[in-house]
Symmetry: D2
Subunit: 327 residues, 4 copies
Amino acid sequence: MNNKISKIGVFTSGGDAPGMNAAIRAVVRACTYYKKECYGIMRGYEGMIEGDIVKLGARSVGNILQRGGTVLKSARSAEFRTPEGRKKAYDNLTKLGIEALVAIGGDGTFTGLHKFYQEYQIPSICIPGTIDNDLSGTDYTIGYDTATNTAVEAIDKIRDTALSHNRLFFVEVMGRNSGYIAINSGIAGGAAAIIIPEENMSFDDLYKILGADKDTSKKSNLVVVAEGSKIGDAHSLAKQVAERSSYFDIKVTVLGHLQRGGSPTYFDRVLASRMGVAAVEGLQEGKYDVMVGIKDNKIVYNNFDVIMASHHEIDEESRRIAKILSI
Amino acid sequence: MNNKISKIGVFTSGGDAPGMNAAIRAVVRACTYYKKECYGIMRGYEGMIEGDIVKLGARSVGNILQRGGTVLKSARSAEFRTPEGRKKAYDNLTKLGIEALVAIGGDGTFTGLHKFYQEYQIPSICIPGTIDNDLSGTDYTIGYDTATNTAVEAIDKIRDTALSHNRLFFVEVMGRNSGYIAINSGIAGGAAAIIIPEENMSFDDLYKILGADKDTSKKSNLVVVAEGSKIGDAHSLAKQVAERSSYFDIKVTVLGHLQRGGSPTYFDRVLASRMGVAAVEGLQEGKYDVMVGIKDNKIVYNNFDVIMASHHEIDEESRRIAKILSI
Amino acid sequence: MNNKISKIGVFTSGGDAPGMNAAIRAVVRACTYYKKECYGIMRGYEGMIEGDIVKLGARSVGNILQRGGTVLKSARSAEFRTPEGRKKAYDNLTKLGIEALVAIGGDGTFTGLHKFYQEYQIPSICIPGTIDNDLSGTDYTIGYDTATNTAVEAIDKIRDTALSHNRLFFVEVMGRNSGYIAINSGIAGGAAAIIIPEENMSFDDLYKILGADKDTSKKSNLVVVAEGSKIGDAHSLAKQVAERSSYFDIKVTVLGHLQRGGSPTYFDRVLASRMGVAAVEGLQEGKYDVMVGIKDNKIVYNNFDVIMASHHEIDEESRRIAKILSI
Amino acid sequence: MNNKISKIGVFTSGGDAPGMNAAIRAVVRACTYYKKECYGIMRGYEGMIEGDIVKLGARSVGNILQRGGTVLKSARSAEFRTPEGRKKAYDNLTKLGIEALVAIGGDGTFTGLHKFYQEYQIPSICIPGTIDNDLSGTDYTIGYDTATNTAVEAIDKIRDTALSHNRLFFVEVMGRNSGYIAINSGIAGGAAAIIIPEENMSFDDLYKILGADKDTSKKSNLVVVAEGSKIGDAHSLAKQVAERSSYFDIKVTVLGHLQRGGSPTYFDRVLASRMGVAAVEGLQEGKYDVMVGIKDNKIVYNNFDVIMASHHEIDEESRRIAKILSI
């Protein structure tokens, strides 16, 4: 045990995700439990550079567990990408005696933290907080469960109107380069087809699945399109179908940023709670430049290089299931 | 009491709205209660023309009260706009002995029904089912309460991310030419500005409200834009602000069709239940070519001409409240 | 206009209700708008006696609009019922220069305020904040719409299991002596029977409605029981049915305090916003010892004596509708 | 591959759970995919004995994915526990040519199926559908994720009122002999203490955690009590605290059957979909008298004896996390 670390800074960075507050709370309370001081750095790297840093106690994170967003706010910082920016940030941490960092965010956040660690050797650990579930090294990222449920609730509502009007809907969900939200909200939403960046489905394949060249095809249907689709976004796919087939009444909905917010599910709260505690414990045990992850329901720590070397793949089985059930 | 009517047909038409099923159930059960037969006409005027009509009993509408959409389905019918189409429809009704009609829908539905009534004198009554709340003659239309809550829930989620990132969001809500959903979801969502078709707000007014020419302005903010906005849709307004001011990180979300679906609120279910019963009772009492409405919490019946003659105005007070609270 | 009032105190008292925070925010922002100072008195009359009072600005009520509960907290105060307690309270207000009061709460709150007004003539106004909707002088109290929706959502879930198991459920909802939540959640929830304090239904009537003496009766059913039921609570009614009939598999759920919490609906937020502004404007106009209300969608002010003289009746029509639809 | 099985019967039994419909749909569609006939047996073993069996096609399970409860209904059957009852059931299956069974339910369901398999060697497989998550052989049972989220949403609402009134709440959640729902809704709900059957916490321990003998203790708090608590249910624990300490304003809420209903989460829908397909594939591969499970996100099949031999343990880590975070 490296009990020498006595002051820890925590911050959120990159796109916000439901459960980030639960993670912040867990970091702060684990610090209290292990008798360390905890500092909240506002607006990610930007606040680190500007010295916008506040002390946090067990009570200052009361009643935030259930809230979407992040009380520490988030931002993308161009200045932190410069050596001067990082120097300022390091000086601010030093001034306050902050000896270690916990970052909550995605791959961009982690990349920044890695650079910072290489230059200043400040003990640091990353917690995966992003709705995209696109990080290898963990089965789940914080926010993914909530975002997928939000997408499914929206799809359920859209299905009501699709069924009532015998309409074909294209619903676009978030996920950047990852198809996780799409494949799982698609299976859960009973989609006829799911377009994800990980799969080489052509437009012709989609056209065939929809039975778009026959009048006898099912008229009320739903296609879920991942943001990262390689064959066109929801609007473009809808347009292509409409140009080639006159059998459908087609509508498009792009769910957008509402997928980022909302009160986190139990799953994301518990995941964030476990990861927050694990981050503080990891620092105590000398695990630096790593990301906390959950694999087969157990906490793991993986080095930056390992995480960045691979994509978080979607298993074959999910795709197979999607196919069987859209029969 | 005109107890001679013994067979009533019910259908939904136009855009679907949450609570339509509750209205169908109420019509059917009121028929049972008053010892009349009830027939469900599928897909609005289209099913009437095609003779797609089924008998409904008290049990056939069990467990639909809480569901979004409409079990009778809805469609827009071009053929019903022709005399030939209406002739076919009338013949189908006659064949089955259907003596009166209850239509659930918006102004398009009512206009078709009015034409039909003029030509064939079939006793008919309209129930206002539309999320837009754009019909004069009733304080509330079925689906409006649910749709506004759906919009507010989405805005709540978007606010989480707006606050976390200090972003300015433009959220576009439905309502066609009416600003009802916008003004009320805007007040309930704490919007900085609300753009509705009923108000002559210029882009400059909006720009001023946002304080877009000062760096000191509030950075995390929300503008709700009604679909019927006369100064541009959400995307266009966002673009205009971005072109003139560099102080904001701007995002746009168009809520779209998810506002039409979902399980209806208690308000819409009770409203639909009352209106469904009132429609059957109205027919019994010889009220034809009218729309059921609710005024000051009392059932009223207004003639087609009265309904169509005026717009459902948004009261001055709502706009005033919106202004005071966005301070 | 009585523009002499320049400092207003606001507090919540009695049982909390969703939308109280929206009302607090509206009072504070209306004060800002009309250039008055606003003070928040913590824990109702208790904080008034203890001098637990904080200054509030437009920003201090940011981001509370959507939250359940009350940020000013609530309590019941025995001490305020004594002349000594009220004296202390008055002295604390005087010390801070608070010249007028806005109370958000139910009849107990209003009774306390009335007494205080009689003794000290401090300009004061009450906003009806209670889920019970039991105050005459207003069509709706703040929190009632949300609580009824919460009850309906719970009933929807219970219906799933009732249907799956052919069970008879007794669901008890809140409302103290009022049957408002019960009658409307009962209609919206498709209940077979609704037991409210305002109606003289005997146990035998209930037994008959359920068809409990025949094996052919509907087995999956739901009875909604108001807290104020005069023929026994949910557990007692379930026991009585079970003792006399062996045809049912009976379960009981008492919804309890979850009906008090949760994010308010758009309706409660807008209602609270309007009433909060109206309270400040009422004080300006010299309306003292009154309660703000909403009647036929218009703001009204009624004197304490008027409010207390009568019960908020449930209309005949609701009961009639409930009967027709449970056919 | 045992492609000789060409007719499969599916049924739900025991307490209903959200996601059972998604599992039914997956079994039916997997049958279609693998060119088998599928029969739905109503009301579990009762319908099997009575011959209440219907043929199901891919379309007959359309639009049930998102619904709580079970369209095949569920019941507990005393008659199936007799050899005569099972004989009748077997004869009914034989008559229709049903060669294999898929049961969706908990340990009682599985026990019945095992007995039936031993007597008649009918190929059979069980899918774990219960909110309790109490079956070893699978990390998750269908319905558990939804029920835990339902509990957490209720706790969130109760926390609003607990905070507003500085109250201590005892919330009782379901789970029979298992503490899964309790421990995870407790962590996610920010409970001060969680009482589960798997842990030997004494009443004195609880009393100490609450700081109930000091006036300085936190007054607004939440204790989550599992149905299977060994030191008393929520009402009894509340009573004991109230008898020994006068520092608290205590309330109790027993969530009850609403935890069984509601639209399933994405997690439960996907889990149910995977397990439904896996059940049909398992039968094809000759896996009989087993339960489908999910372990480390992979489908597994475990023999009846293995499943029944052990309790589904709650990991040490969850309890540790609960302790650290309630600091």
